[in-house]
């Protein structure tokens, strides 16, 4: 059944490390492209 379920398979193949890298790079792209300003 899992073979019919590509989304779940892709999610399982991508490790937590890669998700963290993807999320960080997505926020880097946002900061760079639309000059998103983040305060502290």
């Amino acid at each position: 059944m899992r073979g019919l379920n590509p989304e779940v398979n892709v999610l399982k193949r991508v490790s937590l490390d890669w998700w963290a890298v993807l999320a960080a790079l997505a926020s880097v792209a946002l900061v760079k492209s639309i000059n998103l300003t983040v305060g502290w």
Binding site: A20, L25, V28, T37
Partner: protein, 360 residues
């Protein structure tokens, strides 16, 4: 019918999975933010009343609040999936931290760190193995504690558990011991650093070498100073990069004794265990080196990294349950504590010597 159900499942499952994370992530944010507010309140109170209060960073407050909740009322089931994301925020925060490092600095500090990491690995594995034998711990529990104390705590233990086919109980205990010792280190290391008047760089390298779990190493550094926090993360990441080699060595050892499967494809094994966020960190650092970002963008990325760490530090407190140690027995914990004390002392001498030679 069953195929239709299987095809429909992800559409429901993915949003549901993300939704399940929300309460825990909100709790991480609330505790982290409360830590930040407490730091500011105390600072303002001291200023207003002309009192010389110690500047206690939000990091420590967030951890303390988390520890109190975890060890008194406990973390309710509804929050647990979200609280477990602290590791995700840690790794994302490290990647973003790359914006504050030029690649030249990374390589310079990395070279010194790598030499110290190699010595630390040999010492930690040797000490833990000897103590495990003296105290007659189960050999695989000793292996897990040695891997946990030499490289990167929880991730290393999880990576090694499958590779050396250790029991769930041994892994649970080794994780609990490493976390409890890490929590103790958070308070002890900065105090020792201040007592010895260590520079930010030297303390950062020491925290990165001696504190086992990446989140605790980052927190110990950040409690000392912002620069020490950065250096601690870099040193700890160098240590983390060694995870594959050490786990592979243990896997080969246990396979040679017929107590674990033989590792097929060693290069693939090393790549599988390699912490990928280190690559992300180096990539963002490369972008910063080529001046892809202006000053405002670098400040924004640094702040994003701090927000991610704020969630991580709240998670560090929430996941440390001292009652787990009590449940599993004290003897292996004593072994872990003795080994940590030895490693702490040896790495301190190493760092002080390196600080004198390389002007850290």
């Amino acid at each position: 019918m069953s195929e239709a159900i299987a095809l429909q499942r992800p559409a429901v499952a993915l949003p549901w999975r993300l939704l399940r994370l929300l309460p825990g992530v909100a709790l991480l944010f609330a505790i982290g933010y409360l830590g930040k507010v407490t730091e500011a309140l105390l600072r303002d109170y001291g200023k207003a009343h002309h009192l010389a209060l110690p500047n206690i960073e939000y990091v420590l407050w967030a951890i303390v609040f988390g520890l109190i909740i975890a060890n008194t009322v406990g973390v309710a089931q509804i929050f647990r999936p979200g609280v477990a994301t602290y590791d995700f925020w840690l790794k994302a925060g490290i990647v973003l931290l790359g914006a504050r490092f030029l690649l030249g600095d990374v390589l310079k500090l990395g070279r010194v760190s790598l030499a110290l990491v190699a010595i630390e690995l040999a010492v930690a594995i040797g000490v833990m193995t000897l103590l495990g034998r003296w105290f007659r711990l189960k050999p695989k529990l000793t292996s897990l504690l040695a891997i946990g104390s030499s490289i990167c705590g929880v991730s290393a233990i999880i990576a090694a558990k499958g590779a050396i086919e250790a029991d769930d109980d041994d892994a649970t205990f080794a994780i609990a011991a490493i976390l409890a010792l890490g929590a103790f280190g958070l308070f002890a290391y900065p105090a020792i650093g201040h007592l010895l008047h260590m520079s930010d760089h030297a303390f950062g390298v020491w925290a990165g070498l001696a504190v086992d779990n990446t989140a605790e190493a980052a927190a110990a550094g950040a409690i000392y100073s912002d620069v020490a926090g950065k250096v601690a993360v870099l040193t700890k990441s160098t240590r983390n990069a060694m995870i594959g080699f050490v786990v592979l060595a243990y896997a080969i050892y246990w396979a040679s004794r017929g107590q674990a499967k033989t590792v097929q494809g060693k290069a693939a094994f090393l790549w599988q265990k390699f912490p990928k966020f280190v690559l992300g960190f180096l990539f963002v650092s490369l972008l910063a080196t080529f001046q892809v970002f202006d000053k405002v963008q670098i400040a924004s990325l640094a702040n994003l990294s701090r927000w991610a760490f704020l969630l991580t530090f709240a998670g560090v407190g929430l996941k440390t349950d001292f009652r787990e140690i009590k449940r599993q027995g004290v003897r292996p914990f004593v072994v872990g504590a003795l080994a940590e004390l030895t490693i702490t002392a040896i790495t301190l001498v190493l760092v002080l010597a390196a600080a004198a030679i390389f002007s850290l």
